[in-house]
Symmetry: C2
Subunit: 282 residues, 2 copies
């Protein structure tokens, strides 16, 4: 599915290029770490592969709020830049939501600006968060109509659980949002015809917590150490056992992760079309 | 409770005035209707009573998006204006969320700018929507700690149900958001230790839908015609019958309504403090 999305996005970007309209994504990295560098290199490759012009803009680790904000505002006004993203985590002197708010909502390819989150609440979505979009696409691929479905989301984080709950509500599912303070979690998760788990706790959900035939989406990505000392990436769901009971279950790795990357590319295309559309109409 | 909030806000505004810092609310009314005029007159009185300088700015009914946006941007940059609100509904050529997005989040006294809604999602609240704040204040007045409580919200509107669900989640309640597409509504409402009803359907919730001892908040305001032809304002909850079963129940009129007005006044004070704080620090 992710490969299919990438192909479609690449085709549309090629069309835009023929019309002289480049899709340009500028990513801002404040400070650095080996993990961030690897991530940025992967991003340069995945965007380049489908024809997106990618630039990584590195700022010093001790940058002030005002310095980062000024950089963002320049990019907002730069007509050659159609998408902007800010790599997280940021150094501790910087406030992520306030800086994300400085990004023009039309260029906010990650869909993380507070304004874009608010537009989702208003059912007036411009660009939605990539992980939440990936979850919705994966559920829809089963053919399940979400209207009136009992959906249970476990984990109420700002970047995953809450936006997922909002997009499910937008699709007219009846949504229960559970988290660390929820009593009797199993009584909720067993009600879910759709169950989305986004906690970051390996093996949190076993077969007893899942309704027979449910669509289960595992957003968790955890690195665990096996008995022999080697490491392995697993989700929040006990895959083999739950696969016996669920109707559908996404694997980790290879499920929500690649689909989220594909949604970022799709959002980058969408931002370019929104930005060009606005320029065309003004 | 609403009177108590108004007194506290009035005291703080008087202190600010002594320091030469006026609290100024400018309300924008595009076009007009008898209902809107009455509402604006009431607002002029309720704000004036507690020391807020109030101005109603009337724009022609055929104003364009650009004209309203320019008006808002002037108010954003006017240092004498500490709060801005846009009366709804707007004429059909205007797009409410896009114009609300133009209001500086710090001056958005209704807490309806998409950015402010987004900040609520991020648990980074600047100014939250008044109705949702009123609901939280009323629940807290019972002494109920919301952490881990089963909360059920009926009605997923942009101005009431969704922000209420978000603020309840922020308080660490386990929240289920129900709406028109929900199957077997009663099975959900009966789970609610806290039940918030915001639909706009007279008598939707009867005693069979309510858990013994629940805290029930009725956000509905409906005008109904009685058998003798007279009119009456009622909520979404069958008051007399549910009062026998619920632990707490807000009346309509006289419950969420006056508390929402009080929260608008409190937000107007908060906006002034945020705006002055920002000016002081810059």
């Amino acid at each position: 599915m992710a490969a299919q999305v990438r192909r479609e996005v690449a085709e549309r970007i090629a069309q835009l290029k023929q019309q002289g309209q480049a899709v340009q994504l500028t990513a801002i990295l404040v400070g650095s770490s080996p993990a961030a560098e690897v991530y940025a290199e992967n991003q340069a490759r995945s965007t380049g592969d489908i024809g997106i012009d990618y630039r990584l803009l590195k700022l010093p680790a001790d940058s002030s709020m005002q310095q980062v904000r000024t950089t963002i505002e320049k990019l907002n006004h730069d007509a050659t830049v159609t998408g902007i993203m800010l790599h997280l985590p940021l150094p501790s002197q910087l406030d992520a939501p306030v800086l994300q708010h400085a990004i023009d909502p039309l260029k906010d390819v990650e869909g993380v600006s507070p304004a874009n989150i608010g537009y989702v609440v208003y059912g007036h979505t411009l660009i939605a968060p990539c992980t939440a979009l990936a979850v919705i696409e994966l559920i829809k691929s089963t053919g399940q109509d979400l209207r009136g479905v009992e959906a249970v989301v476990v984990g109420a984080s700002e970047i995953a659980g809450k936006p997922i709950a909002l997009l499910l509500t937008e699709q007219m599912a009846t949504v229960t949002l559970c988290h660390i303070a929820t009593h009797d979690l199993s009584s909720h998760t067993r009600r879910g015809q759709v169950l989305v788990v986004a906690v970051g706790k390996p093996g949190l959900i076993g077969p007893d917590q899942v309704q027979e035939g449910a669509i289960v989406i595992d957003v968790g990505i955890n690195r665990i150490k096996l008995a022999d000392g080697s490491k392995k990436t697993v989700g929040d769901v006990q895959f083999d056992a739950v696969a016996q009971k669920a109707g559908y279950l996404t694997p980790v790795p290879g499920g929500v992760g690649p689909m989220t990357v594909a949604m970022l590319l799709k959002n980058t295309l969408r931002a370019a079309e929104l930005v060009r559309g606005k320029m065309g109409s003004s």
